[in-house]
């Protein structure tokens, strides 16, 4: 009987704790600096444990202390759950308790990386609109079944409610990865990998890797300067890395509307399962680049606290869809937020206003080139190449801004507001329920004031301070449309 009671207590203990693999997560990263040489010594001593212990006892004690501390943290971090709320005790010795009611949850996510899959673990993220916590409210590493159970408990959906599912095609996922892969994000992933590796081994690995790769390539391209080879390597390598990361992330992407919830599943390497509360979605954003605009395709992102906010994630609900299909997809997934028509738009008359700033910036390139040639006369070919490379995005920006003049506007209907605008190289169509608008600003530069134009900045309910700026609208018309909708006096 006593044994039975003890077993039940042990079971209860583990039911309210994280997966034991988390103990490794709680160990210090510098532990590897001790552990690797220790293993090396053990191999060098041909597994003579006694002499190994005698020579390395300080390091071994340090590692035991690190593990003991991690185990203590694991013991003290626990959670309690009932039908309507959850309390997580985190921090050192479980001193910080976070309690949240399930009805306030905006997004609950269960993510399982392939490493976690080996141990049957998965990460549970729970977010609410509470603004005092900028990060995820509750993060726990739990056994997969337990995490899924909590997700079901929070989602608490009426099983009989009809499910509407939109699955994206493999072709679309490939296109999405192509369009949304960037050298910059690839370089960030690579830098992250190198940083983590350098913390364990040393920085030489990064330098050696880049130099070897650049050296190998420059054997075949002797006439191209070394600096250009390295830059090309970084750009192409970064882009490829980003492409594969995106492909892994959004493969098998499918969204389901089930009652008041929106369920998103995706990924191969890391399997993602996110559940959003539809009423807490602040807005949706139909995003496209100029190329996507030409090919009449777009991607639909949503803003809901907790969804797509972790590193390198895009909060999408339709990775790639055609302009024809987008309306159908949105009517299935978001029937409550209907897109009104933009009633106040810009056009040919405002073309110069959109184009002038990138045009003047692009004029700087030849001027700066001349200055650099004057200072470094030996590096003319390199300077010419860099000047050419840097002028390409600026010329493209002029073309994008010219297109933006014909696709900027604002419109309202009874419940929603549409904002068409272009930020840098991206075109956005943001549809936001009027009730979610928190601040409107009408801005005028001196030039705009003289010509009677303005820019409208709209902020919505959001976890962070994020603004949507619709530029170069006629002031009187803009004020009148805002007044009619109770957003200006």
């Amino acid at each position: 009987m006593k044994q039975h009671k003890l077993a039940r207590r042990v079971r209860e203990f583990f039911r309210h704790r994280q997966h034991p693999i988390k103990i490794i997560g709680y160990t210090s990263k510098t532990m590897w600096l001790l552990l690797i040489p220790l293993v090396k010594y053990l191999v060098a001593l041909k597994f003579d444990i006694r002499s190994w212990l005698v020579t390395n006892w300080v390091d071994i004690l340090a590692i035991i202390a690190i593990f003991a501390f991690a185990w203590l943290r694991w013991v003290f971090v626990y959670f309690e759950i009932d039908d309507k709320s959850m309390t997580s005790h985190s921090g050192f010795f479980g001193l910080a308790a976070t309690k949240l009611a399930f009805c306030d949850v905006t997004t609950v996510s269960v993510h399982q990386s392939s490493v976690q899959r080996l141990f049957g673990a998965s990460s549970l993220y729970i977010d609410t609109d509470a603004k005092s916590v900028t990060k995820t409210d509750i993060v726990l590493l739990l056994p997969k079944k337990r995490a899924e159970h909590i997700l079901d408990l929070i989602a608490d959906e009426n099983e009989r409610a009809v499910k509407y599912t939109v699955e994206s095609k493999k072709r679309s996922q490939l296109a999405f990865s192509l369009f949304f892969s960037s050298t910059f994000s690839g370089v960030i992933i690579f830098a992250g990998l190198m940083f983590e590796a350098s913390r364990i081994v040393d920085r030489n690995i990064e330098v050696r890797l880049l130099n070897t790769a650049a050296g190998e390539i420059s054997k075949y391209t002797r006439r191209i300067p070394y600096i250009i080879v390295v830059s090309a390597l970084v750009i192409i390598g970064g882009w490829l890395l980003s492409f594969f990361a995106n492909l892994m992330r959004y493969w098998h992407f499918c969204v389901t509307r089930h009652g008041r919830r929106l369920i998103v599943k995706s990924g191969i390497w890391t399997i993602r399962h996110d559940v959003m509360h539809r009423e807490r979605i602040n807005y949706y954003d139909i995003t496209r680049t100029l190329l996507m605009k030409i090919f009449r395709i777009c991607t639909v992102n949503v803003n809901c606290t907790g969804y797509g906010k972790r590193r390198s994630e895009i909060p999408t609900i339709a990775p790639i869809t055609t302009d024809k299909e987008v309306e159908k997809t949105l009517s299935i997934l978001m029937p409550d937020i209907k897109c009104p028509k933009a009633t106040l738009t810009t056009g040919k008359r405002e073309l110069w206003r959109f184009v002038c700033i990138p045009f003047f910036i692009s004029l700087f390139v030849p001027a700066i080139r001349q200055v650099f040639i004057f200072i470094f006369p030996r590096w003319v070919s390199e300077i010419n190449m860099i000047a050419f490379i840097s002028s390409v995005p600026l010329v493209w920006l002029i073309i994008v801004k010219a297109a933006a003049a014909f696709s900027t506007g604002i419109g309202f209907d009874e419940g929603c507001c549409v904002l068409d605008y272009c930020r840098l190289y991206g075109f956005h169509r943001v549809v936001v329920p009027k009730a979610k608008i928190t601040r409107v600003a009408v801005m005028q530069t001196w030039a705009q004031k003289r010509a009677g134009y303005c820019s409208i900045q709209i902020c919505t309910e959001n976890e962070k301070f994020k603004k949507h700026m619709v530029k170069h609208l006629p002031l009187d018309a803009a004020m009148s449309i805002l007044r009619t909708n109770g957003l200006a006096v």
Binding site: V442, Q444, C459, T460, N462, K464, F465, L487, A488
Partner: protein, 153 residues
């Protein structure tokens, strides 16, 4: 609707502060120029020009352009020096506010009010102490009323 303007005392305080700061920097530069290098004279010239710009253009423009109004349903804030900005926030979206009262603010007019809503905020610069108290007590009542209405719903 109640209209508010930035306090005149704050303008005088900023003038005094700018003059004292630029004089201190000029003395430091002059001291450096005597012993070290001629470049300090150029730095001093730059500081003097910057001070005149701030005193003659930026501060008067800011104080003449800025207007705040608080009504039953909304907050409006007009301000800006090089970019003129009219901000509008519904009282119903106000979630909290932060009043910053500096020491001797009754004499200096250096009081600020930050009104927070979900995903945005609005700043009322250089309010006099009485104006600040009036606005904060009004906002306090409005927030409580909003909370009451939400609870009833």
């Amino acid at each position: 609707m109640h209209m508010y303007k930035p306090s005149g005392l704050a303008m005088i305080s900023i003038y005094l502060f700018t003059i004292i700061l630029s004089l201190a920097l000029c003395f430091a530069c002059g001291f450096g120029a005597m012993f070290k290098s001629v470049i300090f004279w150029y730095v001093m010239l730059f500081i003097i020009i910057l001070t005149f710009l701030v005193l003659l253009i930026v501060v008067p423009l800011f104080f003449s352009q800025s207007r705040y109004s608080v009504s039953r349903n909304e907050l409006i804030c007009k301000s800006g020096v090089f970019i003129f900005r009219r901000q509008f926030m519904k009282i119903s979206s106000v979630r909290s506010f932060t009043a910053i009262v500096t020491p001797l603010s009754g004499a200096t007019g250096l009081n600020f009010l930050i009104v927070n809503s979900l995903g945005s905020h609005m700043v009322f610069w250089f309010l006099s102490k009485s104006d600040l108290n009036e606005i904060t007590s009004y906002l306090d009542k409005a927030i409580k009323k909003e909370e009451g209405a939400n609870e009833t719903a």
